[in-house]
C-alpha cells in the first residue's frame, strides 16, 4: 500500500486500538472489583473479551501487513497469534475448570500487545516470541500440575536451593556479558538468563519454609540461601534481579511471620548495601546520575532514558499510529524499553491501560491467595504475584524516570525466552492455587458432610 494511504489508515486506526485496549481494561476492572467484593468465587462469564482481544490483534496485524508492500506473512502471523491464543485459552479452560479466566485474558492481552509491537519492530523476533509464548504456555501447564498434584513440594527444598545456587555460580563462572550485566549463559544456540529461573525457585523455597512456624535459628538455611542468591546476582551486576529477590523475600517473610524486626533489618541492610554499591561501583553511579538528570549528559549516560522520554512525549495520548513513529531510535526498544515504543506508537492511554492491567493481575493474584485453603498455597500465590508486580513496576518506573533504571524485562511483553517462560511459570503458580481453591469450593458440601463424620469419630 502506498505510504500516504497507509499513514491515513494508521492515523485513524490508533483510536480503535486505544478503544479496544481500554475496553478490555475496564471489563477486567469491573470483574476484579466483583471478584474482590464477593466471597464465593462465582463462575463468571468473560463475555466478549476473548472476541475483542482477537479483533484487536487481527486488525493490528492486518494494518501492519499493509505497510509498504502487502505482506502475506504478517497476515499469517496475525492468524497464528490469534489461533495460538485461542487454543491456549480454551485448552486451559477445558482442562481446568477452576482457572481464573480473566487473569488469563489480561496476561494474553499483554502478550498480544508485545507481539504487535515486536512485529512492527522486527518481524523475525515476533515469530520467535510466539514460539516462546507456546513454550511458556506448556511451562504454565507444568507449574499448574506441579502445584495442583504434587502435595509434598516442600520436601524438594534443599535440592532446589542447590540447583539455584549452582546455576548462579555457573553463570558467574562461564556466563556471557550482555548489556552491562554478566547474567547470561549459552545453552546450545540460546542465551538463557538463569537469574530469571531462580525467581521461581525462590518462590517455592521461601513458601515451603515460611508456611510452618519455626524459631529464627531454624530458618537460617533459607535466610543464608536468600542472602547468597542476592549476593551472586549483585556480583553479576544484575541489580534488577537483586532488587526483585530482595522484595520477594521481605514481602513473603513479613506476610508469613509478621516479624517486623527481620523485615526492617533486611531493609536497612539493603539500604546500606545500596549506599555502599553506589560508592563502590561505577555502573551504579551512572544509573543514578542518568535517573537524576538524563538531560545533563544526553549523549552518553542519559541517552537511553532521554530517548525513552522523547519517544513517549512524541506519541502523546493516543500515539503516532502503528508504524508511523521511530521507535528504533530508542535503545533496547524490543526488550527493556518496549514500554516506551508502545507509548510512542499506540499512545500514553495504552501505556496507562498496560499499567492498569498489571495492577489488576496483581489484585487478582492477591485475591486468589486470600481464598487459598492452606498457608503454603497462600504464600506460593503471593510470592508469584509479588514477583510479577514488583518486576513490572520496576521496569515501567525506570522507563518513565520515576525510579532509577534497572535492567529487568517487562513480564509477558518484552522480547525474551527466559522472561516469557518464567513469567508464565509464575502465572502457573497463581493459577494452580486458583484451581485448588475452586475445586475445594465445588467439593464444599461434601466436605462439610465429612467433617461431621470426623467429629463423631473423635467422640467415639
Amino acid at each position: 500500500m502506498p505510504a500516504k494511504e497507509y499513514e491515513i489508515l494508521a492515523l485513524t486506526m490508533r483510536y480503535w486500538f486505544v478503544l479496544l485496549i481500554l475496553y478490555i481494561f475496564v471489563r477486567g476492572l469491573f470483574s476484579t472489583v466483583r471478584c474482590l467484593s464477593s466471597v464465593g468465587a462465582a463462575e463468571e462469564s468473560t463475555g466478549n473479551v476473548p472476541f475483542v482481544l482477537v479483533l484487536f490483534s487481527l486488525t493490528a496485524f492486518v494494518l501492519l501487513s499493509l505497510r509498504g508492500q502487502v505482506n502475506v506473512l504478517t497476515l499469517l502471523m496475525g492468524i497464528l497469534v490469534c489461533s495460538t491464543f485461542l487454543f491456549q485459552y480454551l485448552l486451559l479452560y477445558y482442562l481446568f475448570g477452576g482457572i481464573d479466566r480473566y487473569l488469563m485474558l489480561m496476561v494474553d492481552t499483554l502478550c498480544i500487545v508485545g507481539f504487535i509491537m515486536l512485529q512492527r519492530l522486527q518481524p523475525a523476533l515476533a515469530f520467535r516470541q510466539v514460539e516462546w509464548f507456546g513454550l511458556g504456555s506448556i511451562f504454565l501447564l507444568f507449574t499448574i500440575l506441579y502445584v495442583k498434584l504434587f502435595k509434598h513440594w516442600d520436601k524438594l527444598n534443599y535440592p532446589l536451593m542447590i540447583i539455584g545456587l549452582g546455576v548462579l555460580i555457573l553463570t558467574l563462572a562461564v556466563g556471557k556479558e550482555m548489556g552491562g550485566a554478566k547474567n547470561w549463559i549459552q545453552i546450545w544456540k540460546y542465551n538463557v538468563q538463569p537469574s530469571e529461573f531462580v525467581k521461581i525457585i525462590l518462590v517455592f523455597v521461601l513458601s515451603a519454609d515460611l508456611k510452618t512456624s519455626k524459631s529464627r535459628l531454624r530458618r537460617l538455611p533459607v535466610l543464608v540461601f536468600t542472602a547468597l542468591v542476592i549476593l551472586l546476582v549483585v556480583l553479576q551486576k544484575d541489580l534488577g534481579a537483586a532488587f526483585l529477590y530482595f522484595c520477594l523475600f521481605v514481602f513473603l517473610y513479613y506476610i508469613a511471620t509478621s516479624d517486623w524486626l527481620i523485615a526492617a533489618g533486611a531493609s536497612f541492610l539493603a539500604f546500606l548495601g545500596a549506599v555502599i554499591s553506589y560508592h563502590l561501583f561505577g555502573h551504579v553511579r551512572t544509573r543514578i546520575a542518568a535517573w537524576h538528570n538524563p538531560w545533563a549528559d544526553v549523549e552518553n549516560r542519559g541517552y537511553q532514558i532521554a530517548q525513552s522520554l522523547i519517544a513517549i512525549a512524541s506519541g502523546g495520548w493516543i500515539g503516532l499510529g502503528l508504524g508511523l513513529g521511530s521507535p528504533h531510535v530508542i535503545p533496547a526498544s524490543k526488550t527493556d524499553f518496549i514500554f516506551a515504543a508502545i507509548c510512542e506508537e499506540m499512545g500514553i492511554l495504552t501505556g496507562i491501560s498496560i499499567i492498569g492491567l498489571y495492577m489488576l493481575i496483581m489484585v487478582r493474584g492477591v485475591a486468589i491467595a486470600l481464598k487459598a485453603q492452606k498457608p503454603g498455597d497462600m504464600l506460593l500465590a503471593m510470592g508469584a504475584t509479588v514477583s510479577l508486580a514488583i518486576q513490572s513496576f520496576t521496569i515501567i518506573g525506570g522507563v518513565i524516570k520515576m525510579i532509577p533504571l534497572t535492567g529487568v524485562t517487562m513480564p509477558f511483553v518484552s522480547y525474551g525466552g527466559s522472561s516469557m517462560l518464567v513469567s508464565f511459570g509464575l502465572l502457573g503458580i497463581i493459577q494452580g492455587v486458583a484451581i485448588k481453591n475452586n475445586k475445594k469450593k465445588q467439593d464444599g458440601d461434601v466436605q462439610q458432610y465429612h467433617e461431621g463424620d470426623e467429629e463423631r469419630d473423635e467422640q467415639g
Binding site: 500516504k4 499513514e7 491515513i8 492515523l11 485513524t12 515460611l210 508456611k211 510452618t212 512456624s213 519455626k214 514481602f251 513479613y254 506476610i255 508469613a256 511471620t257 509478621s258 538531560w295 544526553v298 532521554a306 530517548q307 522520554l309 522523547i310 513517549i312 512525549a313 512524541s314 502523546g316 513513529g325 521511530s326 531510535v329 500514553i348 501505556g351 496507562i352 499499567i355 492498569g356 498489571y358 495492577m359 496483581m362 489484585v363 492477591v366 491467595a369 486470600l370 492452606k374 498457608p375 503454603g376 497462600m378 504464600l379 503471593m382 509479588v386 508486580a389 513496576f393 515501567i396 518506573g397 518513565i400 524516570k401 520515576m402
Partner: protein, 498 residues
C-alpha cells in the same frame, strides 16, 4: 498419618495473620501502581512538551532531501518573515543528478533575532523558537481531519506558521545599539500587563544563515540562560520583603555612615560615601548599601526567602512559551549574618537571569501581579486558520497593590533624583533601579556588571525592561552604562506605539 497431619496443622502459620498481612501487601502494591500512573500523567502533562522539543528528538529533525513535513514559517508580530523553508534544485556531485534540497532561510538581518528564533539545521540541530515550537512548526498540533486532508490532497505536507510577540523593528534597533556599545549583555523588554516579550536581545550574536562560523559563546541566549549576580537591583526584592514584614517602615529613618560591619566584613556604600540620615525611598534612590544590608539582617533569611520565592527565585519555571534557567537565592537557616547582609544588596550567592529581572520589574509595574512571559503570539495553519492565540496568563500574585505602589514610587524617585538620572527622558516618564554587581577580582577590574531594570510610563506602565551589560570597567555603573541604553530602548518603543 493422623498424628502427623495434626502436627502439621499445629505448626502451620496462622491463616488469619497471613490474610491480614496479605491485605496490607495488597494495599502497598496498589499504592505503588497508583503512584506510577499518577507520576506518569504528571510527568507527561508538565514535561511532555519539553521532552518533545528536545533537540535530540530525531523525529522532527530537518530532513534536507526527503522531508516528511515541511516546517512552517516564523514571523514577528507584524508579519515580518523571520524564518522559512525554501527548496532548491542542487546537482549531486557524485551522481550528477539534480535533486531537490530543503533548508531553512532566515531574515537578512537575522543576527538581530538570532537568539529568539534560533536555528533548525540538519547538521547543527535546533535552538530557540525553532526548537521549542517545533511541535507547531511541524504541524503536530493539527487535528486528525487536517492531517488526513494534507496527506490525501496536498502534494507535500506542511507544518504551521508561528507568529512571535517580538517586534522586529525594535529587536533590530536594540541589537544595533548593543553592537555599538560593544559589550556583552542582554536587553529584555516586555509588556507588564500581558507578559508579551517585545524584545529579547543577547549580545554577542550569530548568523543562523551561516552556521559554520559560530562560536559557542555567542550561541548562549544570555537573556534566558545567563545567570548573573543582580547587585543593587535585588534591593527591590529586599525592599518588598521589608514592606511586608517590618512595621512602620514608611516612617523609619536610617543612618548611613558610609560603611557597616558584620562579623568582621565591611559593607561599603559606593565609593564609601556616607549618605547620612535617610528613609527607605531615599535609600533606594541613592542605592545605599549599608541601609539595605542592615535591613536584610533585620528581616532575616526566612522572610527574604519567602519574598524571593514569591518573585520566582529557586523556581523551575515551566512556562509554556519559553525555557529559562532557574534563578537562585541560596539562603537557609544556616546562612550567617554577613552572608545575609551581602545577599540583601544582591551580592552574595544570588543569581538571576535578565528575563527574570525584567519579570520582577514588570510585577512591580503591574500592581504586584506577575504575568507569565509570552513569546508565542499565534499559530497559523493552512488558509490562515488561527489555531492558537495568545492568552495572557497570571503566573502569580506577588505583592499587594499598596506595596507595589510604594515600590513604584521609589523607582520613579531613583530616576528623578537618584542613581538612575541618566534614564530620564523628555517624552516619557521612566522609573527604574540601577545596579552594579561586582564580579571581577583585583586582577580583572573590568569584570563588573551594569544593570538597569524599570518600567514606563511610570503612572500607567505598558513597558518593563531589564538591561544587563557585562565587563564594564571601573568607575562605570549601571547608572552610567545601562540606564542610558534603557532610555533609548524605551523611547524607541514608545515611538513605535507600545
Amino acid at each position: 498419618m493422623y498424628n502427623s497431619t495434626m502436627k502439621e496443622m499445629k505448626n502451620a502459620m496462622s491463616k488469619g495473620k497471613i490474610k491480614r498481612n496479605t491485605i496490607g501487601v495488597l494495599l502497598v502494591l496498589t499504592a505503588l501502581y497508583l503512584s506510577l500512573i499518577a507520576y506518569f500523567c504528571y510527568a507527561v502533562l508538565f514535561y511532555g512538551s519539553r521532552w518533545f522539543a528536545d533537540s535530540y528528538n530525531t523525529r522532527v529533525k530537518m530532513d534536507e532531501k526527503n522531508p516528511r513535513i515541511i516546517p512552517g514559517s516564523i514571523m514577528d508580530r507584524n508579519g515580518v518573515m523571520l524564518a522559512e523553508t525554501k527548496s532548491e534544485l542542487v546537482k549531486d556531485s557524485t551522481t550528477g543528478k539534480e535533486e531537490q534540497y530543503y533548508f531553512r532561510v532566515y531574515h537578512d538581518k537575522a543576527t538581530s533575532v538570532a537568539h529568539v528564533v534560533g536555528f533548525n539545521h540538519s547538521k547543527y540541530g535546533r535552538m530557540g523558537v525553532e526548537a521549542f515550537y517545533i511541535y507547531y512548526l511541524m504541524g503536530y498540533n493539527n487535528s486528525l481531519i487536517e492531517k488526513i486532508y494534507q496527506k490525501a490532497f496536498l502534494p507535500q505536507e506542511r507544518g504551521n506558521d508561528v507568529v512571535l510577540t517580538v517586534d522586529f523593528r525594535l529587536q533590530d534597533y536594540v541589537s544595533q545599539l548593543m553592537r555599538k556599545q560593544g559589550k556583552k549583555g542582554s536587553v529584555v523588554l516586555l509588556n507588564p500587563k500581558t507578559g508579551e516579550i517585545l524584545t529579547m536581545v543577547s549580545y554577542p550574536t550569530f548568523n543562523p544563515n551561516d552556521m559554520d562560523k559560530v562560536d559557542d559563546d555567542s550561541l548562549v541566549n544570555r537573556a534566558t540562560q545567563g545567570l548573573y549576580p543582580p547587585g543593587s537591583v535585588f534591593k527591590l526584592v529586599t525592599a518588598a520583603a521589608a514592606l511586608e514584614n517590618v512595621e512602620d517602615i514608611g516612617e523609619r529613618k536610617f543612618n548611613c555612615a558610609g560603611a557597616v560591619e558584620f562579623d568582621g566584613t565591611k559593607i561599603q556604600c559606593y565609593k564609601g560615601e556616607a549618605h547620612g540620615e535617610l528613609d527607605l525611598a531615599q535609600a533606594m534612590a541613592v542605592s545605599c548599601n549599608t541601609t539595605f544590608a542592615s535591613l536584610g539582617t533585620e528581616i532575616g533569611w526566612k522572610n527574604l526567602l519567602i519574598m524571593g520565592k514569591k518573585f520566582g527565585f529557586n523556581e523551575d519555571f515551566l512556562f509554556s512559551d519559553i525555557r529559562m534557567k532557574m534563578s537562585s537565592l541560596p539562603i537557609t537557616y544556616k546562612t550567617r549574618k554577613q552572608e545575609m547582609a551581602w545577599t540583601a544588596v544582591g551580592q552574595g550567592k544570588v543569581l538571576v537571569t535578565p528575563l527574570h529581572m525584567a519579570m520582577i520589574a514588570a510585577t512591580i509595574a503591574n500592581d504586584g501581579v506577575m504575568m507569565e512571559p509570552k513569546l508565542l503570539y499565534s499559530v497559523v495553519g493552512r488558509n490562515d486558520n488561527i489555531q492558537k492565540q495568545l492568552k495572557p496568563n497570571v503566573y502569580r500574585k506577588v505583592l499587594d497593590k499598596e506595596n507595589a505602589e510604594t515600590l513604584k514610587n521609589m523607582m520613579a524617585k531613583v530616576v528623578l533624583e537618584g542613581t538612575g538620572k541618566q534614564a530620564q527622558s523628555k517624552g516619557v516618564t521612566i522609573a527604574g533601579k540601577t545596579g552594579t554587581a561586582e564580579e571581577g577580582s583585583k586582577d580583572q577590574p573590568n569584570k563588573n556588571l551594569a544593570w538597569f531594570v524599570g518600567f514606563a510610563p511610570s503612572d500607567d506602565p505598558t513597558l518593563a525592561i531589564a538591561v544587563l551589560l557585562e565587563d564594564v570597567g571601573q568607575g562605570e555603573t549601571g547608572g552610567t552604562q545601562a540606564a542610558p541604553l534603557a532610555k533609548k530602548v524605551i523611547e524607541k518603543a514608545v515611538e513605535l506605539g507600545y
